[in-house]
């Protein structure tokens, strides 16, 4: 029963529809949003949701770098999630344009553009559609610099793709594919948890001299609203953030899951007297081992939570590295709380997701170990 009413709809048209139907009960999704408290730079701010912050970042990038080009399926009129709204009008049809429905072509095209000196921002409409482009990303983009002995590279390429659970996306509109790409040296993979981080990290990705994949948790496009600095700013890639400091248990997540973990930390503290440290990894590749290991050595108890399935999820890499580096500091085995080793389900999403109750259970058990 609750399965159908749990989620939020995101497309603009649907919101309009809801607007006219106020009697519709709009239940919250599986997480509670925790706005970013840190302001990365001084100066004026404005209230933006995540799709606006991303649009703003691309706007600034297109303004600053005349070689920058934005393209993808339906981006000309704003993209299905409205990130590029108004950008074609402002920057011209030759810089912001639609492509045919051909992901392999989009990425290959972006690589060529980037290797010849343009800044390429390619949008894959859903991360679930990125797989036709897998070869281009893994074999062409990631290895360009290496295989040419440093003569050529496509570092000016950034691939954006909406990812993750959305409440009702079912098999092909919900997946988190970060782990597939994390297996590929040469790429950088970034996942923001809200508007402030999204803007800074995306600008870093666009300017970074390595090909980056920027996965945007689509459930946050509208649900996440923060005061975002108006000016351009960059956040360092490869740096994690301690969102909630704590002493007993370290909780590691990225994207939407960080918000789940923040709530878990709150419940653990208030109801069980357990102090949790929440880390937002932000960059999946290369991940910030220093922050993670320091926290692991401090708490001795690590839980990693991600939406993707358990086996070979990025949590596996973290768990292996933590036990290798921090073994003598550990009080309990590293735990993973993840999606199931099943395809992303249609009606069972609330059970599939590593929600706060599953994470809290892991916290309580890891302390008892």
């Amino acid at each position: 029963m609750a399965v159908h009413s749990r989620s939020i709809l995101f497309c603009k048209e649907i919101s309009k529809f809801l607007f006219f139907r106020k009697n519709v009960v709009r239940r919250s999704s599986h997480f509670q949003y925790y706005p970013d408290k840190n302001t990365p730079v001084e100066g004026e701010t404005t209230k933006l949701n995540m799709f606006q912050a991303i649009g703003n970042a691309m706007d600034l990038a297109l303004e600053k770098d005349q070689s920058a080009v934005l393209f993808g399926e339906d981006v000309a009129f704003g993209g299905v999630f409205r990130c590029s709204m108004g950008l074609q009008k402002k920057h011209g049809k030759d810089r912001v344009f639609n492509t045919p429905l051909c992901e392999q072509g989009i990425v290959g095209f972006g690589i060529g553009l980037a290797v010849a000196g343009s800044t390429a921002i390619a949008e894959i409409q859903f991360a679930d559609y990125i797989f036709p482009a897998f070869d281009q990303i893994v074999n062409e983009a990631a290895k360009y610099r290496y295989r040419s002995g440093g003569m050529f590279d496509c570092g000016r390429l950034t691939i954006r793709a909406p990812c993750g659970a959305v409440g009702h996306g079912a098999l092909y509109h919900s997946q988190m594919p970060e782990a597939y790409f994390a297996h590929t040296p040469g790429l950088k993979i970034v996942i923001p948890r809200g508007p402030v981080k999204a803007k800074g990290l995306l600008l870093s990705c666009i300017e970074d001299k390595d090909p980056c994949i920027f996965f945007e948790p689509k459930v946050l496009y509208r649900a996440a609203v923060e005061e975002v600095p108006k000016q351009a700013y960059k956040l360092p890639l490869g740096k994690a953030e301690i969102v909630v400091p704590g002493n007993h248990v370290t909780l590691i997540g990225w994207g939407t899951q960080v918000h789940v973990l923040c709530e878990v930390a709150e419940i653990a503290k208030n109801s069980h007297g357990i102090s949790c440290e929440v880390i937002d990894l932000m960059t999946i590749l290369p991940w910030d081992s220093e922050t993670v290991f320091n926290s692991a050595k401090k708490t001795g108890r690590i839980i990693i939570a991600h939406e993707a399935p358990m086996t070979c999820g990025f949590g596996s890499e973290l768990a292996a590295s933590i036990q290798e580096d921090c073994f003598l500091h550990l009080e309990a085995p590293v735990r993973r709380v993840t999606g199931f080793d099943s395809p992303f389900p249609h009606i069972f999403e609330p059970f599939y997701l590593p929600d706060k109750w599953r994470c809290l259970d892991a916290v309580i058990n890891i302390v008892k170990y």
Binding site: H4, C11, V25, P100, P132, G169, A170, F340, F348, Y352
Partner: protein
């Protein structure tokens, strides 16, 4: 509570409709046949041909019985899509939902030509196809609402419908096209004389794998009909802005092709028959472009009006609607009476309405099915990554279409 009220309202409406039919129209078969023509012939719009000397016949004949069947099928699909649209707006259907209203003649025309052994695979605009391949209205609608009565037991949703000789229901643009070539290879290998209809849209026509499939199919002379359902828009981009050549029937290069008016069920049937004849006479694959139009947006989250005008949609509805135009043809040629067609409409409405009610109220499959049918023979009994509260075991529930 609101859901309950909504459900009650619908039930009430259903009952009212039922009672209002004080004198239910007699079943079609009872009406005396002597008043009607038993068959009629029509001229189709000209076909466009690629690498063919002679195309399908522009003169098509239909029997009264078939015409009534096609009308009923097209009307049912239209009603199913209307029901889907409403269910989606009420937030009872979740996920992504792509409607095919406007395109009914494509599926019905192809189905009319297909033989028992022929197969079909398509993308995500397949509610109508599932119905044509034998899934009930309830099987379609309750799949969309995620109930156990759905054709995939509610586990696939709108994009993942399956039926006999119907290989889905695929969510990734263009990914089904090479699969269709593979199915055609199986037809050839098993020597069952079957043909596979491998469907994709004008948007998907630009995916590289479509061309890979063309090449293999031609090389291996596979009995595969590549059907490009050209509805003019790949999501929000018109075909003219996405495709260097909009002559999709000729994009198989070395594969012969035909463009047919996809709003004319009889023309589609004729062209499909021609394609089947081509494939079964060992000439290899065929490209069939079916020129059609979708009234709705790409999916339910697309209003479909930001990249085209409302007038354009209205114009197609008024001048080219596949159901209205076919209805007119039937009436003008005296294949059926207006009353008779009205009776069919009432019957179809009742059928879909009943399914609509049940699609809201049937139960979902139990949580054990979260991990069902991932593998046929998993090496460990429980699924990894599961909740600490209950374990979920691997199970097999579905019946394979082709037995192992």
């Amino acid at each position: 509570m609101q859901r309950v009220i909504a459900t009650l309202r619908i039930k009430l409406k259903f009952l009212q409709n039922f009672i209002l039919q004080k004198n239910p129209n007699p079943p079609v078969t009872v009406v005396s046949r002597c008043n009607f023509n038993n068959e009629a012939s029509f001229e189709t719009k000209p076909y466009k041909l690629h690498k063919l000397d002679k195309g399908p016949s522009t003169s098509v004949t239909v029997t009264r019985e078939d015409a009534l069947k096609y009308f009923r099928q097209m009307y049912t699909i239209r009603r199913l899509e209307t029901a889907s649209s409403n269910l989606y707006k009420e937030r009872i259907i979740r996920g992504f939902c792509h409607l095919s209203n406007g395109q009914e003649a494509c599926a019905v025309g192809m189905k009319a030509a297909m033989r028992e052994q022929d197969t079909i695979i398509s993308a995500y605009r397949v509610h109508g196809w599932a119905y044509l391949q034998g899934v009930s209205a309830l099987g379609v609608l309750s799949e969309l609402t995620g109930r156990h009565t759905g054709c995939s037991r509610g586990k696939g949703g709108s994009m993942h419908l399956y039926g006999k000789n119907f290989y889905g229901g695929n969510g990734i643009v263009g990914a089904q096209v090479p699969l269709g070539a593979g199915i055609a290879l199986a037809h050839k290998y098993l020597n069952d004389k079957g043909v596979c209809f491998s469907l994709y849209g004008d948007g998907a026509a630009n995916q590289g794998q479509v061309f890979e499939a063309y090449n293999m199919a031609k090389l291996l002379k596979l009995p595969c009909v590549f059907v490009c359902e050209n509805n003019g828009y790949g999501m929000g981009t018109s075909s003219k802005r996405s495709s260097a050549s909009v002559d999709y029937y000729s994009r198989g290069d070395y594969i012969p092709g035909v463009r047919v008016d996809g709003m004319d069920v009889l023309a589609v049937r004729e062209a499909s028959q021609y394609a089947i004849d081509h494939c079964t006479s060992d000439k290899g694959p065929f490209v069939l472009e079916v020129e059609t139009y979708r009234y709705s947006g790409h999916s339910m989250s697309d209003p479909g009006t930001s990249y085209r005008t409302r007038e354009e949609i209205q114009e197609v509805r008024l001048s080219r609607d596949p159901i209205t135009s076919f209805k007119e043809k039937m009436l003008i040629s005296n294949l059926a009476s207006a009353d008779e067609l009205k009776a069919i409409e009432v019957e179809v409405r009742a059928e879909v309405e009943e399914a609509n009610v049940r699609a809201r109220t049937e139960s979902e499959v139990s949580i054990e099915e979260l991990a069902s049918d991932i593998y046929i023979n998993p090496l460990e009994p429980e699924v990894r990554g599961i909740s600490p509260f209950d374990s979920v075991k691997h199970v097999n529930v579905g019946t394979p279409f082709i037995p192992h």
